[in-house]
Symmetry: C2
Subunit: 250 residues, 2 copies
């Protein structure tokens, strides 16, 4: 099994960095190969912008998707994007590792999606969702939060992680990935748990590495998250009512 | 009324840019003042990173929130962040204008939140949600989508906009804003509506400017989105069960 980890944390000594190292070690120990893209270390530019396109489809007016399609066709995609596409094409499993910032991934990872999921190349109006480019591959979000687990859930102060991660998960589903349930490491930023002293926190976070290793050795038992696909929609993209025919899968 | 528009689109001739100009004109015509931050034009760097902090709390290990708190206290926040905080402090209404990319705002706007919503300065563990720094102010998301309106909704191919926008909306709520229902301009990217010819699309998008102007002149009739606040949670941040006492508001 080949795994590609996309790592999005600015500090090499961070807990997120340790989770990425833990995953790479655990997966290699099982005989798999692992590639890691450290977006901060690589200075990845997350801003989709004219500056990345040197052979423009329309030099006067920048439309991101049109330029992506043109660059794919003409072989003029930016080097960082080409490198990431190659990493994804080799991977059976993609792990996105990040700290939860403002109810989602840090900008550097959001922009990885904005730039790397190339229109016309990795998806089209028909090559997406369960007919997506990466169908048959798996994706897994591993995130850290500052607040304790107790603060998350529907109506909770921290909000519901399922809702919060929906944009990331559905984007991976759009690309064809089977999306596994996320791995969440709570109470990492030092807000901590109010009933917990420093030693207890350290012990908990140390134990969490073993939990992460165990999770990674048992992924085949995971049931992917349930998202709708082509057989669930009408031609207009609405849920099929009872007795209605699905659009034939593309 | 003072309005601050945060504009996140790479192309000055885009429909998003026209929406921002329309909003600025409509609000000024009513006697309001308007500031606009054009993140792309300004070359805003959305990556929260050590390079922005020259007087570090911990030079050896970068923790974003700790450095934000330190920079706030010592008056060493980056200039772009200070400027945006000033714009927000003057505004009664904040409009976020962006195209929907991968089920959320472009990275440049996500990173605006990562960097500008400064820990310790604009929020603390108690100064947030309905006790947030910007309480009494309003926020409004105006987004464009490529797909037609029909493709959006629960279970629909495009997904549910309420879910998709939750991370942005709840982040604004976290900062204390009353979040108004979003203004959505569908079918902008040229995917268009399959039953619509080019002229019909242009007419529809032209009419949409008038809808946007009307919306902006009638904001006082808007009912803000409903998010939970301090009176809804226990001390641990869980929804209060019947008969249970709320945590006293901070």
């Amino acid at each position: 099994m080949q795994t590609h980890i996309v790592h999005a944390h600015p500090e090499p000594q961070s807990y997120n960095a340790a989770l990425t190292r833990t995953a790479a070690q655990a997966l290699r120990a099982r005989g798999g190969t692992v590639t890691v893209t450290d977006l901060y270390r690589d200075g990845f530019d997350p801003v989709e912008a004219p500056r990345h396109y040197h052979d423009r489809a329309d030099p006067d007016r920048f439309a991101a998707l049109a330029e992506q399609r043109h660059a794919w066709t003409t072989g003029t995609l930016p080097g960082a994007v080409r490198a990431e596409i190659a990493n994804l094409e080799h991977a059976d499993l993609v792990i996105l590792q990040f700290p939860l910032w403002w109810h989602g991934p840090p900008a550097i990872l959001k922009g990885w999606m904005d730039r790397v999921f190339v229109s016309g190349g990795l998806y089209t109006s028909r090559m997406r969702y369960d007919a997506g480019y990466f169908r048959g591959r798996r994706a897994l979000v591993s995130l850290s939060t500052g607040a304790p687990a107790e603060a998350f859930g529907p109506g909770c102060r921290g909000g519901d992680l399922g809702t919060m991660l929906w944009p990331v998960h559905y984007s991976m589903h759009y690309m064809g990935f089977s999306v596994l349930p996320p791995f969440t490491s709570h109470g990492v930023q030092g807000h901590g748990y109010s009933y917990e002293d420093a030693q207890a926190a350290e012990d908990r976070l140390t134990r969490n590495f073993a939990t992460w290793r165990r999770r990674l050795t048992a992924l085949d038992g995971d049931i992917p998250l349930d998202f709708p696909g082509w057989s669930d929609w009408t031609a207009e993209g609405r849920p099929i009512a009872k007795g209605e025919d699905a659009l034939a899968a593309p």
